[in-house]
């Protein structure tokens, strides 16, 4: 495996795959943090299952990115030997878990987006990406349903659960703009028939989110100023500690084998 050697910027195709893979990987890492902390055993198993699905998606996407990059970096090198500035995940998924309501609201916002995104990418001109997306679409449809089920019960639940769910929604809303913001990488990939037109996904995402929030009796926050930068490697202060924990084994014992 190669370390984080200075390299030329990745091609748009590689950058696009890294963004998808990194978001899956970081979301998996956050969900794994719930192990041993879940509110009940049944939910602990559910969260671990969600994490495993995202880890599988990350593995497939990063392996594909590494193969196209052609610099002998496999999925492990990309996951464990890059630094925070090289990660291009969405800011939304690197935020701390907060309480159970915040984790579930975040998962709803992200999974509802992934359902639309993977649905579109199943028709990608990159056949490997299309295959990964088609398989992953089934998984994220379940994640969306699971998160929506909980958000509805928390929002339309007790006074405290409702307060926590609304607070989570209000805090996370400014990170939803990045889901639909297109930059030059996105535009190049749409033009090549490989990527998805993110703006075109918004109406379907809006509909699912609005229906869920209505049933949860939660108020959809106003669209204000939106955070962005994760896809370009500009992260919140929360990513570095996450990577430190995720990467420590490989960094301390390079190429360790069980």
């Amino acid at each position: 495996m190669n370390g984080s050697l200075p390299m030329t910027p990745p091609s748009p195709h590689v950058a696009y795959l890294l963004r998808l893979g990194d978001s899956a990987l970081i979301n998996a890492q956050r969900l794994i943090e719930w192990c041993g902390q879940g509110p009940v055993l049944e939910e602990e198993v559910a969260l671990a299952n969600l994490a495993m699905d995202h880890l599988g998606q990350a593995r497939a996407l990063l392996a594909h990115a590494g193969a196209i990059e052609g610099q002998c970096r496999d999925e492990d090198a990309l996951a464990f030997l890059r630094d925070s500035v090289d990660f291009c995940n969405l800011l939304l998924v690197e935020l701390p878990n907060g309480d159970f309501a915040e984790t579930m609201v975040r998962q709803l916002l992200y999974s509802a987006w992934l359902v639309e995104l993977y649905g579109a990418l199943a028709n990608s001109a990159d056949p490997q990406l299309a295959a990964i997306a088609a398989k992953s679409a089934k998984e994220v449809a379940y994640h969306r349903r699971h998160a929506a089920t909980w958000v509805i019960r928390l929002g339309d639940g007790t006074e405290e659960s409702r307060r926590r769910a609304q607070a989570a929604l209000d805090a996370l809303w400014m990170f939803t703009g990045e889901l639909f913001a297109m930059d030059e990488v996105d535009r190049a990939m749409v033009e090549a028939g490989i990527g998805a037109d993110l703006a075109a996904l918004k109406p379907a995402w809006d509909e699912v989110v609005d229906l869920t929030l209505a049933e949860a009796t939660l108020a959809r926050p106003e669209d204000g100023w939106m955070q962005s930068g994760g896809k370009q490697g500009r992260h919140t202060e929360h990513l570095v500690p996450l990577l430190a924990e995720m990467q420590i084994l490989q960094r301390s014992h390079p190429d360790a084998r069980w």
């Binding site: 009940v40 198993v45 299952n49 699971h146 089920t149 019960r153």
Partner: protein
């Protein structure tokens, strides 16, 4: 959460096959019980 009802899980391998008891779980309502059952039996026969 200690007052959540107990639900029993029954799996079958396909339509018409016999149901097999696969343990129990606690959940606040039927919809969440069904989701939790799918999660805790993942790897066993999917019900």
């Amino acid at each position: 959460m200690h007052d959540w009802p107990l639900w029993e899980i029954f799996l079958r391998t396909g339509n018409g096959a016999a149901y097999r008891h696969a343990g129990g779980l606690h959940a606040p309502d039927a919809a969440l019980a069904l989701q939790a059952a799918r999660d805790v039996t993942r790897g066993a026969a999917r019900g």
